[in-house]
Amino acid sequence: MEFDLKKIDAIIDSCGCEAKNLITVLQGVQAELRYLPTEVMEYIAEKMDISVAKVFSVATFYENFSLNAKGQYVIKICDGTACHVRKSIPILTKVREILGLSEDKPTTDDMMFTVETVSCLGACGLAPVMTVNDKVFPSMTPEKAETLINDIKEGKEVC
C-alpha cells in the first residue's frame, strides 16, 4: 500500500525529531491513517533515528495503537464495571452479530466498521456507553445499537 509520506513528514516535523516525541508522532499518524502500517513505522524509525524494533516495541505496548487497518467507523463498547453491570455485554454481542464480527475479527471486510471494547470511558453516569468515532452514545440497549448501525449504513449523519 502506498502512503502519503509528506503527511508523515509533516507530523514528524510538527512534533520534533527527538526520540522522546515518538508517542506523539505515532498518535498523529494513527489519527491520520486510523492505524500504524508497517511501512510507516519503518519510515518513522529511519526519519527519527530510532531502531525499528523500538518503534514496534512502543506501538505494541500501548493498547491505543493499532497495527491493523481499522474500519471507517470505530465502535467502542465500554465494558468497565459500571457499564458491565448495566448490561453492556448483550450490546456487544448484538453489534458483533449484526456485523458478523468476533473478538478475533474486529473489522468488517468492507472496512466500514471496527468493533472494540474499552475498559472504561470515564462516563459511568451514562452507562452503558458506546462511542462511534469518539462521539458518545449514552444509555445504550442492543436495539438502540442496531438502529444506530442501520442509520450509519444508510448514510445518515450520526457522527
Partner: protein, 565 residues
C-alpha cells in the same frame, strides 16, 4: 566516599555506582540475571535484593551506597524471595535442560541450583513458539527467554543496532526483532554479542560441530584447519587452565588427535594482511586517499557498513580480505586440486560473524563450494574436545604443519586484540624496522581497553592519525564526528566486539578482568617472538613468492557485491 555495613562488616566505599559493586569487591557474589557492569542498569530480575535495617528490600544494582548504611545480603527472607523469583521464572521457561545448548553455562540453571529450587509448583501455560534458525550465526529460542533484556541493551548500547527489543506488554511481553521478523531479515550484523550475554539458552551460537565430525570421519576428505590468534588465549579457560594461558600447542595436538590433516595458524595470513594493507595504505598516501582507510578484518563491521555506510564499501574500507579468507585462498591453492581427497578448509575463530562471512558470495567459488567451508567458534572447539574425551589440560604440545610451522610474526598475533591491526599495519609502514620502533609504537596510545582511542605517529616524516574503536556504537560515533569535521584520521581500525576478537561472541563468555588477561597474553606473545615485522618473516616471504606469485589482487583482495544478505 564513606563507610557502610555489609553483613555487619564495616566496608569502605569510594566511587562504586551501586551496592552491588561494593559487595563484589569484598567477595560477595550477589545473584544477578540482568546486570552487567558494562551495560546500563535495568533492575528487572530483582535477584540482587539486599535487606536494609528496617527489613525492607532494596535492589543492590540500582541503589547507591550511602554513608552509615546497613545491609544484609543473605537472610532467610532474602533466600525465600530469590527462590520464589527463580521458581516463577522456571514456571514460564522451557525446562529441557539436558538437551539445551546452554546447559552447564546457564545462569538460570546455576542460580536454581545455588538456591536449591526443588520444585516448581506452577504449570507452564504458554504456547510454544517456533525457533528462529534463519541467521547464519545465531539461534533464537523464544521459549527460553526470561525477559532480562541483556540482549536488547547490548545490541543497542554497544552496537548501536537495536535489532532486538521488547514487544507487547504484561504476560504477553516478549523479546523479538521488529514485527517478529526473522533475524536474517533484519540488519543484524551477526556479532553474536546478544548470545554472549544471554543468561539462558534463548539466544545461542549456531552449532556446526556435527558437520565437522562428519568431515573428520570421511577418508575422502582432507581437513585443513586454521586457528585465529584470539582462540589460543581463551580456550584454556574451559579446561581449568589459567586465564590468559596461551594454549596454541595443545590446540594443535587436540586437532590432530581428532583427525585433522593439517593445522595452520591464522597469524601467518594476518601477516599477509599486514603487508597488503600497509601497501594499500602507502599507496593511498602517495596518491592522496581516500582517507580514512578503514580496516576490513571484522565481518560484522563490513556488514554494518554495507547497510549503514554503503559509501565506504569498495572505497574507504581496505580491499584486503580478512586473514581468514587470505589463508583460505592460500590453503585452496596448496591443497584444493587433489583428485584423491576433497579439501575441506575449516577455521576456528573467536567470532560468530565469520560463520556468515564464509557463506558470502564473494568467498564462494563458481561451482558453489565455499573457499572456507566452516567457521567454528572457540566454544565449539572446546565442545568437540570434550566430545572426544581429550584430557586437554594435560596434553603435550604439538607444532604446526609445514610450510607454515613457525606460525607467523608478533605483528600477526596482536590482530586478536583491539588496536592490534592498526599497530601492525603502521609498524609495517615504517622504513625503519627496528625493535626500538616497535617499542615507540607500543606506547603511542593504540593499546588499551577504551572503546575509542586515537594516536598520532610519525612515519618517515609524515604524521599518521590513527583511530581505534571497538563496538559498532563507538564506530558510528567516530564516523559522525568525522562527518561533522571535528576529527580527521588516516587509518581507522574497527572491531565489533568488546576489546576486539578476544571478546568475540564465539569465545567463552568473559567480562573484565578476564578479557584484559587475554589481551596481555597476546601482547606478551608478540613480545616473546623474535620476528616482529610481518614482511620480514620467512613464511610471509614464502607465501608471497611461492604461492601468491603476483596474484595478490585475485587471491588477497575482495570487491564486495551489492545487496549481499
Amino acid at each position: 566516599m564513606g563507610y557502610m555495613y555489609i553483613d555487619d562488616m564495616k566496608v569502605e566505599f569510594e566511587n562504586e555506582k551501586n551496592i552491588l559493586e561494593v559487595t563484589r569487591r569484598i567477595g560477595i557474589e550477589l545473584p544477578t540475571l540482568c546486570y552487567y557492569s558494562e551495560l546500563s542498569t535495568y533492575g528487572a530480575c530483582r535477584m540482587c535484593m539486599v535487606e536494609n535495617e528496617k527489613g525492607g528490600f532494596e535492589a543492590a544494582c540500582s541503589t547507591l551506597p550511602r554513608d552509615g548504611m546497613r545491609i544484609k545480603t543473605n537472610t532467610p527472607a532474602l533466600i525465600k524471595h530469590r527462590r520464589m523469583i527463580l521458581e516463577l521464572l522456571l514456571a514460564a521457561h522451557c525446562r529441557d535442560c539436558t538437551t539445551c545448548d546452554k546447559s552447564g553455562a546457564c545462569r538460570l540453571q546455576e542460580l536454581a541450583l545455588r538456591y536449591g529450587v526443588k520444585r516448581v509448583r506452577f504449570a507452564d501455560h504458554r504456547e510454544e513458539k517456533p525457533l528462529d534458525t534463519s541467521s547464519k550465526s545465531i539461534v533464537r529460542d523464544p521459549n527460553k527467554c526470561i525477559l532480562c533484556g541483556d540482549c536488547v541493551r547490548v545490541c543497542r548500547e554497544k552496537q548501536g543496532m537495536g535489532i532486538l527489543d521488547f514487544a507487547y506488554r504484561g504476560s504477553k511481553m516478549r523479546v523479538m526483532p521488529a514485527f517478529d521478523r526473522k533475524l536474517a531479515e533484519t540488519d543484524c550484523v551477526n556479532c553474536g554479542q546478544c548470545a554472549a550475554v544471554c543468561p539462558t539458552g534463548a539466544i545461542t551460537v549456531k552449532d556446526e560441530t556435527d558437520e565437522m565430525w562428519k568431515y573428520l570421519n570421511d577418508p575422502k576428505k582432507m581437513v585443513v584447519v586454521q586457528v585465529a590468534p584470539a582462540v589460543r588465549v581463551a580456550l584454556g579457560e574451559q579446561f581449568g587452565l589459567p586465564e590468559g594461558a596461551n594454549v596454541m600447542g595443545k590446540i594443535v595436538k587436540a586437532l590432530k588427535m581428532m583427525g585433522v590433516d593439517k593445522v595452520f595458524d591464522t597469524v601467518v595470513s594476518a601477516d599477509m594482511t599486514v603487508v597488503e594493507e600497509a601497501g594499500e595504505f602507502l599507496e593511498r598516501v602517495a596518491t592522496g586517499g581516500p582517507f580514512p582507510m578503514f580496516t576490513s578484518c571484522c565481518p560484522a563491521w563490513i556488514k554494518y557498513a554495507e547497510t549503514k555506510h554503503p559509501e565506504f564499501i569498495n572505497k574507504n574500507i581496505s580491499s584486503c580480505k580478512s586473514p581468514l579468507q587470505m589463508f583460505g585462498a592460500v590453503i585452496d591453492e596448496l591443497y584444493g586440486n587433489d583428485p584423491e581427497r576433497e579439501l575441506i578448509s575449516v577455521a576456528v575463530m573467536p567470532c560468530t560473524a565469520k560463520k556468515y562471512e564464509v557463506s558470502r558470495s564473494e568467498f564462494t567459488k563458481a561451482d558453489g563450494k565455499r573457499i572456507v567451508e566452516l567457521s567454528l567458534t572457540t566454544q565449539e572447539l572446546a565442545n568437540m574436545i570434550k566430545n572426544a574425551g581429550i584430557d586437554f589440560a594435560n596434553l603435550e604440545e604439538e607444532f604446526l604443519d609445514a610450510p607454515f610451522d613457525m606460525g607467523g610474526s608478533g605483528a600477526g598475533v596482536i590482530f586478536g586484540v583491539t588496536g592490534g591491526v592498526a599497530e601492525a599495519v603502521i609498524r609495517e609502514c615504517a622504513k625503519d624496522k627496528t625493535n626500538a620502533y616497535v617499542k615507540e609504537m607500543r606506547d603511542v596510545g593504540v593499546r588499551g581497553k577504551e572503546s575509542m582511542k586515537e594516536a598520532v605517529i610519525n612515519v618517515d616524516g609524515r604524521d599518521i592519525h590513527i583511530a581505534v574503536v571497538h563496538g559498532l556504537k563507538a564506530a558510528e560515533d567516530l564516523i559522525q564526528k568525522m562527518e561533522r569535521g571535528e576529527a580527521y584520521y588516516d587509518i581507522v581500525e574497527v572491531m565489533a566486539c568488546p576489546e576486539g576478537c578476544i571478546g568475540g561472541a564465539g569465545q567463552p563468555f568473559a567480562l573484565n578482568p578476564r578479557r584484559d588477561k587475554r589481551a596481555k597474553a597476546l601482547y606478551r606473545t608478540d613480545n616473546d617472538m623474535s620476528m616482529k615485522f610481518s614482511s620480514k618473516h620467512p613464511e610471509t616471504i614464502y607465501a608471497f613468492d611461492e604461492i601468491v606469485k603476483g596474484r595478490n589482487h585475485e587471491m588477497l583482495h575482495v570487491h564486495y557485491n551489492k545487496n549481499e544478505k
